[in-house]
Symmetry: C2
Subunit: 175 residues, 2 copies
């Protein structure tokens, strides 16, 4: 019995997954340090401000915003609470839907965003600058394959879970 049974899930896939985690965590950590240190602004807050700034009328429905910044609705509620407390955003009622709320970027919020953006870009660039033009052409297509659909193409054939004494799938062994 082979360790890997089909092409559907090779060691390569797991390798990619591990690297993806590492990359994301490292960039996030670095970015958090920089943003927090230089502007007292957590990355999640930056994301909110940035998305608002990019939205028409500098406003977004809470629900929309939550989806875009990859946060639960409750999580966004608290986050916007903080941002509102600091005067970076405000909440405004929605005309056509009485239960709807807009999170609106304030002028102070826009200023803070403008201040922090160079730091943000520098932080991201520190890692991603190594990608050349050619890479930039390829990667989005790849990541789109990975991140866009959670639906199963096929049930993905199994792998022999643990051969005794053998390294576990999903890991580079330490021999």
């Amino acid at each position: 019995m082979t360790l890997l049974r089909a092409e559907s899930l090779s060691a390569g896939h797991l390798e990619v997954w591990r690297m993806l985690q590492r990359a994301q965590v490292r960039i996030t950590r670095h970015l958090e340090g920089e943003l927090l240190g230089a502007h007292d602004l957590p990355p999640a807050s930056y994301d909110v401000l940035a998305h608002l700034a990019g939205a028409p009328g500098r406003r977004l429905r809470m629900n929309d915003l939550a989806e875009r910044v990859l946060l639960s609705r409750s999580g966004l509620t608290r986050l916007v609470d903080r941002l509102q407390r600091d005067g970076l955003v405000m909440r405004e009622a929605c005309a056509d839907d009485a239960r709807g709320l807009y999170a609106v970027l304030s002028d102070r919020g826009a200023d803070r965003l403008a201040e922090a953006t160079p730091t943000y870009l520098r932080g991201v660039g520190m890692f991603l600058a190594r990608l050349d033009e050619e890479d930039l052409a390829r990667v989005p297509a790849l990541l789109a394959k990975v991140g866009d659909l959670g639906s199963a193409p096929e049930p993905a054939e199994q792998v022999d879970p643990l051969a005794p004494g053998r390294p576990v799938p999903g890991l580079s062994a330490a021999p």
Copy 2:
């Protein structure tokens, strides 16, 4: 004045960063649901068990382990507390270093890992199966560029932070 001043940090880089975040979050969320639902095992715990299983003697120093599973030492301390409470790992003193501790995979831990591994692989595969052989050959090199070194190749030239009324760098605009 152009929006992007140098090639060092283009909109493409930010696009990649966004997609990287999305991919990682989506996979993680899905995986967490599956692992938790089917085996009552958080992803972080799975990671620890898997790394231990792949290590010689099924054991790893706490510090080593923390680095590998991308956790702070304190975070790992608590996590191993839980795993030990559930009998999945045990702590053993280190012979040659009196302050060292090994986290050791127990038999129960190995069993749980074996049970959960198919779920884990299926969960990852559900997203990554879309990558073909050719992709698998390319991606690791790309992610290595991104995730391996946090040191700056160069200070990464700046970007014009915010043109008024324009979408913020780092975002796909909503026109």
